[in-house]
């Protein structure tokens, strides 16, 4: 017990899975207690938020909004991933490299400044949302993917050359197949950004509904319990998605487990 406590505060020490679970539960309980004690003013208490969650999930209209956001999320993530992967892989062909570099720099462009342009360019609210979402997510995806490609050890390319692979075979073996597991990791890490974007773009086109629209409406009427309830639901979806993608990565690419610090 003493040893476990000591290890819990020692940098780079290993703890058992059971100890980790205990730590997570204990720290969550402390956080909830602190929230409960400091809440009930401007910030609603955990019990009020729980009530709001129960109320939300028992309303049929909530599921319409919920699945609209989930649908938009999957559609946006899926298309963004395909575009980002293509841009990143093509960046290794010199003629396409400046395009990839430009896409990365698009991280600094704010969506708010481009909404009018996108409204003119798209035909309806749904298209507007997807376009804004792609414009928001793709630069972050490409940045992460390019940093993976940039850190590939040059000796891997040299190995391919000595094995008589041509440049296309090397690209396939080292960059595409060899880093496929990391594409899932990029997706997992950037899922949070995509959710942030989804609630934002839903706010830009409120007639289409979704959790983002619900958030803006609830904020407008100072219904903070509902705002927190929606945030908790989004948070839980994020945790679930994180877990599912993490497991999917281990299942599809078992060797990735070997690289983890025990």
């Amino acid at each position: 017990m003493k040893e476990t406590l000591k290890n819990s505060v020692l940098p780079l020490s290993s703890i058992s899975k059971q100890t980790l679970i205990i730590l997570v539960i204990a720290e969550s309980a402390i956080a909830l207690l602190a929230w409960h004690l400091t809440g009930n003013g401007l910030i609603p208490s955990p019990l009020r938020v729980l009530d709001a969650i129960i109320k939300l999930v028992t309303e049929a209209s909530f599921y319409d909004e919920f699945f609209k956001s989930i649908g938009l999320s999957f559609k946006g993530m899926g298309i963004s991933l395909v575009v980002a992967v293509l841009v990143s892989y093509l960046s290794l062909i010199p003629i396409f490299n400046p395009i990839a570099k430009f896409v990365i720099k698009c991280r600094y462009l704010t969506l708010t400044g481009l909404i009018f342009l996108f409204t003119l360019l798209t035909q309806d609210g749904s298209q507007l949302r997807i376009s804004l979402l792609l414009f928001g997510i793709v630069p972050f995806f490409v940045t992460s993917l390019m940093s993976i490609i940039d850190t590939i050890n040059v000796q891997e390319y040299e190995l391919c050359k000595t094995l008589r692979m041509n440049n296309w075979q090397t690209l396939w073996e080292v960059v595409i197949v060899g880093r496929l597991d990391q594409v899932i990791e990029v997706m997992r890490q950037n899922f949070a950004i995509s959710w942030m974007m989804i609630t934002m773009v839903e706010g830009y086109s409120m007639s289409e509904g979704g959790l983002g629209t619900m958030l803006i409406k609830s904020n407008k009427y100072l219904d903070l319990s509902t705002v927190f309830a929606i945030l908790v639901i989004i948070f839980l979806i994020g945790i679930l998605f994180d877990y599912v993608l993490g497991q999917l990565r281990f299942w599809l690419f078992p060797y990735t487990k070997l690289q983890l610090r025990k």
Partner: protein, 269 residues
């Protein structure tokens, strides 16, 4: 010191006035050496050549030039009977950190070597060749594992077999004894002797700062060092270990004469 019957005939590899310069810094200067085919009666005797030099002298750069991975500032490396300029893929390399494809199992890593060898073999033949090599080199039980599950010595063996399976006659090894304990060094020496005698034309080029082990394994050694007044490293001495009676002797490291030679070379690099 046993004297062996042998002949040296065809020129297999020639490094001709290799110079390498990065900006103003001269790394290599007029590096010249040749490797000839050694023939011994009733056996397939490959060639084992060492390039010995201290750390930072430019060995790894020369290693990459010999493999055709980087172009020298001037000079050429030519190989085979027709003495054509070396192209990437004609010389296998075993880097110091034994790079393998971490996303593939050991079996798949070896299969890649065979797939790019240019030989047309059926899946069954491929399986049998890989299993045969794995058994010879003590890797049978590791074929389903990933590279990260193997020790350094095991990864080194996989790297070597991978290159042998591509059909490369020339294999360059960068510091093959680095970080290995004394028992492992003996095993690596046995393994390299085994590889060098698989085929008459197999030629191992060992780039190392480990004088004793490199010499114990080689038939010829070239000392790569800086000459006074010359910028960049060059070959300062050629040691014909066959003529000295030190080649092809498994226990040569126990010989006092051999140890004298090792001590002399220490002062020359």
């Amino acid at each position: 010191m046993a004297q062996h019957v042998y002949t040296k005939d065809a020129l297999l590899l020639k490094a001709d006035n290799i110079c390498l310069k990065y900006g103003d810094k001269q790394i290599l200067s007029d590096v010249n050496f040749e490797i000839h085919n050694i023939q011994r009666p009733n056996m397939s005797q490959g060639q084992v050549v060492s390039l010995i030099g201290r750390s930072g002298v430019g060995k790894t750069q020369l290693f990459k030039i010999l493999a055709g991975l980087i172009k020298p500032t001037s000079g050429t490396v030519t190989i085979d009977e027709d003495q054509h300029v070396v192209r990437p893929g004609e010389v296998g390399i075993i880097p110091q950190n034994y790079i393998l494809f971490n996303h593939r199992t050991i079996y798949q890593n070896l299969k890649i070597g065979l797939d790019f060898s240019g030989q047309k073999v059926s899946d069954e033949q491929e399986k049998s060749i890989i299993e045969d090599y794995a058994s010879k080199f003590g890797l049978s039980e590791h074929l389903k594992k990933y590279p990260m599950q193997l020790s350094g010595g095991q990864r080194q063996r996989v790297s070597i077999i991978q290159q042998v399976l591509t059909g490369n006659k020339f294999i360059l090894l960068d510091e093959p004894f680095s970080g290995l304990d004394i028992l492992m060094v003996d095993k690596v020496i046995d393994l390299l002797i085994q590889v060098s005698t698989i085929n008459e034309f197999n030629t191992l080029i060992i780039v190392s700062h480990d004088i004793e082990n490199a010499l114990a394994l080689s038939d010829t050694a070239y000392i790569l060092a800086n000459k006074e007044g010359v910028a960049g490293a060059t070959v300062t001495e050629t040691i014909d270990l066959i003529q000295l009676g030190f080649a092809w002797d498994r226990d040569i490291r126990q010989s006092a004469h051999f140890q004298e030679l090792v001590a002399q070379i220490k002062f020359k690099i």
